[in-house]
Symmetry: C2
Subunit: 302 residues, 2 copies
């Protein structure tokens, strides 16, 4: 589908793209680059990429698809470094969790004649690094493409077919709307999970070992979320500041209302609220984004 693909950054997403490309025979040669020499060594050892390069310039040389898989805060620097080495007609895309900030950081560095179609696969695990990827990560998950104004229709279509080849369902979205949707469905929930795990850790009367031993219920799912890559998430929050803060503001407002209902003993309010949230869960199961299995996050054990 592409003759030469360059993966810049070799973490969970890049390594999963690589194995999914191999599974689907979607690319000729795949080059890879990571800033850390340790990561490059690991990639060479495990056969991640056909050729691991020691510079961005070498990795993108002659590539017709370049996928930026670095944290959002590093996109601008990477784009600046590779810009002069891009071939006319090449497609640049990325996998960042924020789109407006990535467009602002990357677009100015790209020469005329290079296509730029930002993307965001809604898939991940709490693991990170070159050894964490697997070919099935994107299967039946969404990949949102966010074409900038004036994007070449054929180039967009080709990138869409590429993601479908990786196993994903593809939808196009406007960058600002994208950033709001993911603030609701991903960014705010992650910050909340991080916060709750931090609270538990601070509370000295409940020992760490108790928190850990007795975390069968909701807390265990929070720690799973809160174990995600710190650098990636720092950059997400700094680069999707407005939407995340807006959602957190609404969240705090609702939380205060529920706290007040608890304080006042208003059981009807609580029951009505909890009944409503149940319906959303059913919607997700019907939309095929999860299963109805009663595993509560421990499916792998049963």
């Amino acid at each position: 589908m592409y003759d030469r693909v360059a993966l810049i950054g070799l973490g969970l997403i890049a390594s999963s793209i690589f194995w999914a490309m191999k599974r689907g025979a979607l690319a000729g040669e795949v080059t890879g680059y990571a800033r850390s020499s340790e990561t490059r060594d690991t990639a060479r050892r495990i056969g991640l990429c056909d050729r691991v390069c020691d510079s961005i310039a070498e990795a993108v040389d002659g590539a017709d698809l370049i996928v930026l898989c670095v944290p959002v805060g590093a996109m601008g620097d990477v784009a600046g470094e590779m810009g002069p080495h891009l071939a006319p007609g090449a497609m640049v895309t990325d996998v960042g969790s924020v789109k407006r900030a990535v467009i602002d950081a990357v677009a100015p560095h790209l020469p005329e004649g290079v296509h730029f179609v930002p993307g965001h696969p809604l898939a991940g695990t709490e693991h990170s690094g070159p050894e964490s990827g697997f070919a099935e990560l994107f299967d039946n998950r969404w990949c949102l493409l966010v074409p900038v104004e004036g994007s070449d229709v054929d180039a967009v279509a080709q990138l869409r077919a590429f993601w479908e080849g990786l196993g994903a369902n593809v939808e196009e979205m406007d960058p600002d709307h994208h950033d709001l949707v993911v603030a609701v469905t991903s960014h705010a929930p992650h910050l909340i999970a991080y916060t709750m795990v931090g609270v538990a850790d601070d509370l000295r009367r409940v020992t760490d070992s108790e928190v850990i031993k007795f975390s069968a219920g909701g807390f265990r799912d929070f720690t799973r979320i809160a174990a995600s890559d710190p650098t990636m998430w720092r950059d997400v929050f700094l680069n999707n500041k407005d939407a995340t803060l807006e959602i957190l503001g609404r969240f705090t407002e609702e939380l205060f209302a529920l706290q007040r209902a608890i304080r006042r003993g208003d059981g009807d309010h609580l029951h009505a609220y909890f009944t409503r949230t149940r319906a959303i869960r059913r919607g997700i199961i019907e939309a095929g984004q999860d299963t109805d299995a009663p595993d509560f996050g421990r499916g792998a054990k049963r």
Copy 2:
């Protein structure tokens, strides 16, 4: 282990206890009672309990172990109804998520010579009702026993052996400390998940279908938590008010600090916080309460 066991309330926990008792041959006859005739009919149809009774009095008659499996808010009424029918030497326990309030509600109704050892299995799924139980629910999970002052040592030991027979690991705890530990590990996380799901539902610019379609990340795990039984959770919050409100207060404080770090662009603060929460996750995996599989709550699909 017990000749006659009575299960009062026939939801997820009671039905799982029943199937686990049968698996381990832990009881002679098992009777059951549920307030709703529909639930009793379902229980009879699926063979849940050896004998389903139409009154509490009939269910507890001659029982040497009575397990109260109703929502925390219903424990007092149930205890009042069964009290006059209990045989001397019988053991009464419960599975409620709150312990101080259950002790205050139940103990006054129990006649002299009846043992009372409250309990709380830290296990569950987001499903409820008599058909949701399964024998493996308690395997390798914790059950906390909260013996009241002056509990008979042999009776406590027998109940402990019973729970171990159901598959659980057992630990004893003081009631107030129990209520604080679960406020941290379960009650506050559940309220937060409910809140976040409610926020998403309120936000009109992001359509319901978008929230549902694009919930691959953290939000999906929240909806799973927030799909739990509304009546059970209403009663939990109303009956563990002080500890839950204290933890939520701390949570709000921490969340405000992180919000301020985002607003100010303080990436170091965010990175340090996220790195710390990662360590807690590792502790949980090492404690054997979860697996390291990268399923992010969708294990059943892979």
